[in-house]
Every structure is written in C-alpha cells, then in structure tokens.
C-alpha cells in the first residue's frame, strides 16, 4: 500500500473548506471571466473567521484551499494518481510563464505528479468556478462521470 502512504502525505491544491487541515494558499483575483490566483507567501489555516470574510460567496469561490489528498474518497483518484491534475495538464493552457512562488508546492499532489506543467496552469483554477471554459469543464469531469455541479459534492 505504498501509494496510500505517499498520498496521505500529499496535499490537494483544490480542496474543500470542511476538510481537516484545510489551509488557504491562494486568493482568486482577476475578473469574473478570467480568474487568476494570487499566491500567499505562506499558507494560512482556514478558520471560521476567514470563511466569514468570504460571505456572501463560498470560500471556494474566493480562496484556493489545500488539504490532505483524500485518496480513494475522491472521484478523481485512481491507481495512485490524481486524474484531475493529469487532465488539467493535458487540456488546459498554460497561463503564466513561470511557476508561481507557492507555499503549498513542497507537498502539492499536482506538483509531485505533473511537475511544473501543473504550476503553469494552476492560476486559472477556481475550485467553485462560474463560466469555466469547455477545456476546464472537460478536465474537471471525473472518469466516473459524476455530476460536476455543486450539489454533487457532499463532504463527509
């Protein structure tokens, strides 16, 4: 079960606020149609106070949240890999010229798996995204064919 151990130590860079160990490492800037994540110089634990700051929108519309990879509890995970990271690198364009300084990177699942190609695409990702491009919709679709809309995403 080596994969399980490895993934338990890695962090998902597009996690949900309810997850244990959730920390904010980026803030979504840019525009409604062209979001760009600005990366914090250090990750900040996601507290109820921080969630309140995001009101009236969801924390996942404002923050990029890291939390331990959920492994097989996530529909994107299979054969020890994150299918989402792989599809983002395959389908989405690079949007920055260099990997951004990122507090999550040392333990980031996407980085560990896809390297700098994931980092060059990461700034366009909003976890709860309105107006996503067709490429991002395809990338975000798990191979299980689950619905992507928010009502399908029930936390523990």
């Amino acid at each position: 079960m080596a994969n399980t151990k490895i993934n338990a130590a890695l962090l998902c860079p597009s996690a949900q606020p309810e997850m244990a160990g959730a920390a904010v490492f980026g803030l979504v800037q840019g525009t409604g149609t062209s979001p760009r994540v600005a990366y914090l110089d250090r990750a900040v634990p996601l507290t109820p106070e921080l969630i309140a700051i995001a009101t009236p929108v969801k924390p996942t519309e404002v923050f990029r949240i890291g939390a331990p990879c959920a492994g097989s509890c996530c529909q994107h995970f299979g054969q020890g890999r994150c299918g989402l990271a792989g599809r983002i690198v395959q389908l989405a364009p690079a949007v920055v010229m260099n990997a951004p300084p990122c507090a999550l990177r040392p333990n980031c699942m996407w980085w560990r798996q896809e390297g700098v190609n994931a980092c060059l695409r990461c700034p366009q990702i909003v976890t709860h995204m309105h107006g996503a491009s067709a490429e991002l919709v395809e990338a975000a679709t798990p191979l299980t064919g689950a619905k992507l809309t928010d009502d399908s995403n029930h936390p523990l």
Partner: protein, 63 residues
C-alpha cells in the same frame, strides 16, 4: 493544444500576508461578478466518492 499554448507573458501574482484582507475583499467582489455569468458553476477539485469512504457499504457488497 494544451502543450502548445500561446506563450503566456504574465508572471503569476504573489501577495504578502499583510495584503491578505484587502485582497480577500477584492476576491469576494470578483466572485460576486462571476456569479452573474450564465453557466452553472462547476467544481474543479475534490469530488467525494461515497464508495471510497470507510464504513459505507459499496454497491453490490455486504458489510
């Protein structure tokens, strides 16, 4: 092609912790604007897999 993008010319943004509150407010305003877009929102991130959760019987299996 994803591997043959128009060469991006912008560096990624970075902010300090001291700028955090102000930047969060801007992020909330951006999200409010984004909610006006016609398409339904999607989740780009973890999507829970009930069958992978401990203690939940998997389809076709008995506990």
């Amino acid at each position: 092609m994803a591997n043959d993008p128009k060469a991006p010319t912008t560096p990624a943004a970075q902010i300090t912790f001291e700028q955090f509150t102000e930047t969060t407010l801007r992020a909330v305003l951006r999200a409010v604007e984004a909610q006006k877009l016609p398409h339904r929102p999607i989740i780009i991130g973890i999507i829970w897999n009930p069958e992978g959760m401990p203690g939940i019987p998997q389809a076709g299996k008995k506990e």
